[in-house]
């Protein structure tokens, strides 16, 4: 096993054990020896692995959530000042549409922030008008929409139609239980992408970034 792979596995174990001090030690050492870009890469790979492990049933949602929260916290403590502002990643907006359950979105936000993307969160229980105003005001390029309830998922279709009319270049990613349980639903509502698990977000963002260029 390569040194990088071994380090990633150590990081995965520390994250899912909710062992903050071990995560901090691993990431700080990586930062000192290999630099911040390497830290971000290692962290992204570890979080992708944890997300995929949730999808196949070998890790829990609680572990995915705690991994994201710990990653964000530790990364913020070791990042150089102004590091994020120097990055040229597209601005990402997050919103929990109509629903009031924000755990899924919190997980994805933490993961995406940990990978160096600028993220602005609109909040929970938001409607079409809130989202349209938000996209314009914050100059959002990629919008991540989370829902828990089926009626909210179905109502995403109207939201996406309105975004397409007002901000046709904005890319839309949907996620949440209804989209996972009915794999045709994201296409039906007109989303550009659907994330089955939080770890998929990095691959999705890579694809969307290519389309935005």
């Amino acid at each position: 096993m390569s040194e990088d792979l071994e380090k990633k596995q150590q990081l995965v174990r520390a994250l899912v054990s909710v062992d903050k001090s071990a995560v901090s030690e691993i990431l700080s050492t990586e930062f000192t020896t290999k630099g911040i870009d390497h830290v971000a890469d290692t962290l992204q790979q570890a979080l992708e692995e944890i997300g995929t492990a949730w999808e196949n049933g070998s890790m829990s949602l609680a572990q995915v959530y705690m991994s994201g929260v710990i990653s964000e916290e530790i990364l913020n403590s070791i990042l150089p000042a102004n590091y994020l502002s120097k990055l040229t990643q597209p601005k990402i907006g997050t919103a929990v549409f109509l629903d009031h359950h924000n755990l899924g979105m919190k997980i994805v936000s933490s993961l995406v922030r940990s990978a160096g993307y600028p993220v602005v969160d609109l909040g929970v229980g938001v409607n079409v008008d809130n989202v349209i105003d938000f996209i314009g005001k914050e100059e959002i390029k990629i919008l991540l929409i989370s829902v828990l309830m089926l009626p909210s998922a179905l109502a995403v279709e109207e939201l996406i139609q309105e975004i397409a009319r007002t901000y046709p270049d904005v890319k839309i990613v949907v996620g949440g239980a209804p989209f996972r349980l009915d794999t045709n639903l994201s296409e039906k509502v007109g989303a550009h992408e659907m994330g089955k698990n939080a770890g998929e977000i990095f691959e999705i963002l890579s694809r969307l970034k290519r389309e935005l260029i």
Binding site: S60, A62, Q63, D99, N102, L103, M149, L181, D182
Partner: protein, 343 residues
């Protein structure tokens, strides 16, 4: 020609892991009654007479084998002072979290007699028991003490409690357990036949098994033991296989199964030990054609029904508002066509 079994006989036969005349059908129709009535969910659940009328109506219309007294999960948070948000055409949602982690220190067990939403459920149960005359199972519902804090505290705060504040977690479980068993037993006394014990957090989809076994599992075992009637543990679509033996050991007689695992596999693992309830995909149902509904019913029956110990139902514990009537009727038709034993 033999006389058809009553719904109760059919279900009891299946629970004893024998083959009844046909596969029992539990269409878990709660909010759907509001759609049938033309009332908003808020209006519908505000009067027990509405719920009783449409439980009776839907039992006949969809040839259902149970009455379902469940109103909405957030009703239990009203006992703790929580707000319920009523959408026009969807399930009522819990509002903001009811208390903080610090607030657990000052928490006490609410008196269900003082909670109008729970008292309405008891009134529905009493009226349906009179109508059922012991021939139709009446399914009551409780949230497990381990899962209720998602609504009480909010999911993120609850995870912080679970990982980092064991003393307050234990205190909250003590209070929730007392509330849960009291609420479950009140429903049984009012005439419920069995209690559906919703416990999505015990799924390894949500909480890793090692953490669950050291935190929620002892609470679930003790609570279920204190409920004075049959219990159906339902994980509301969560995976069950990794903890199925532990669920069986709680004394649960029925297990609700989701769609992420093969019902065939679960049936093999649990044969003769627990009756399976499931697992038609409720989220997909709004888009099903009548033919699809029929095919899905046939497939699940062929996988899980031989030998008994199986009740056909949805995977989540409630039929969504958006499911067309024709799909539900097709499900009932398919049970008539494919559900008679030997299947």
């Amino acid at each position: 020609m033999t006389t058809p079994m009553t719904s109760m006989e059919r279900v009891l036969c299946s629970l004893s892991h024998n083959e009844p005349d046909r596969v029992p059908l539990f269409l878990l129709l709660s909010l759907y009654g509001a759609r049938e009535s033309g009332l908003s969910p808020k209006e519908y659940f505000s009067k027990p007479d509405n719920v009783v009328k449409y439980q009776l109506f839907m039992k006949e219309k969809y040839r259902n084998d149970c009455f379902y007294t469940f109103s909405y999960a957030a009703a239990e948070t009203e006992a703790w002072g929580g707000e319920v948000l009523f959408p026009a055409e969807g399930p009522p949602n819990a509002g903001k979290p009811v208390f903080t982690i610090d607030g657990i220190d000052r928490l006490y067990v609410p008196d269900i007699q003082q909670v109008p939403s729970l008292m309405r459920v008891l009134e529905v149960t009493k009226q349906l028991a009179t109508k059922a005359k012991g021939e139709i199972p009446i399914i009551g519902v409780v949230m497990s003490p381990f899962s209720l804090p998602v609504m009480q505290l909010g999911f993120e705060t609850y995870l912080q409690l679970l990982y980092f504040d064991q003393p307050r977690f234990i205190q909250l479980m003590k209070i929730n357990k007392q509330f849960c068993q009291t609420w479950a037993n009140a429903q049984l006394e009012a005439g419920a036949t069995a209690i559906c014990y919703f416990n999505p957090l015990c799924s390894t989809d949500i909480i890793e098994k090692s953490l669950y076994l050291s935190t929620g599992y002892p609470v679930d075992r003790a609570t279920i033991a204190a409920i004075k009637g049959p219990v159906a543990t339902h994980l509301a679509s969560g995976r069950v296989v990794p903890i199925v033996n532990e669920i069986i050991e709680t004394g649960s007689q029925i297990l609700g199964v989701g769609i992420d695992e093969s019902v065939d596999l679960i049936e093999k693992k649990t044969k003769g030990k627990i009756t399976l309830l499931g697992n038609l995909n409720g989220v997909e149902m709004p888009n099903w054609s009548e033919e699809t509904a029929s095919d899905k019913v046939r497939e699940v029956i062929q996988q899980a029904a031989p030998g008994g110990g199986f009740i056909l139902s949805d995977s989540h514990g409630e039929i969504p508002w958006q499911v067309p009537e024709k799909v539900l009727i097709s499900i009932s038709d398919a049970v008539e066509e494919y559900g008679y034993y030997p299947v």
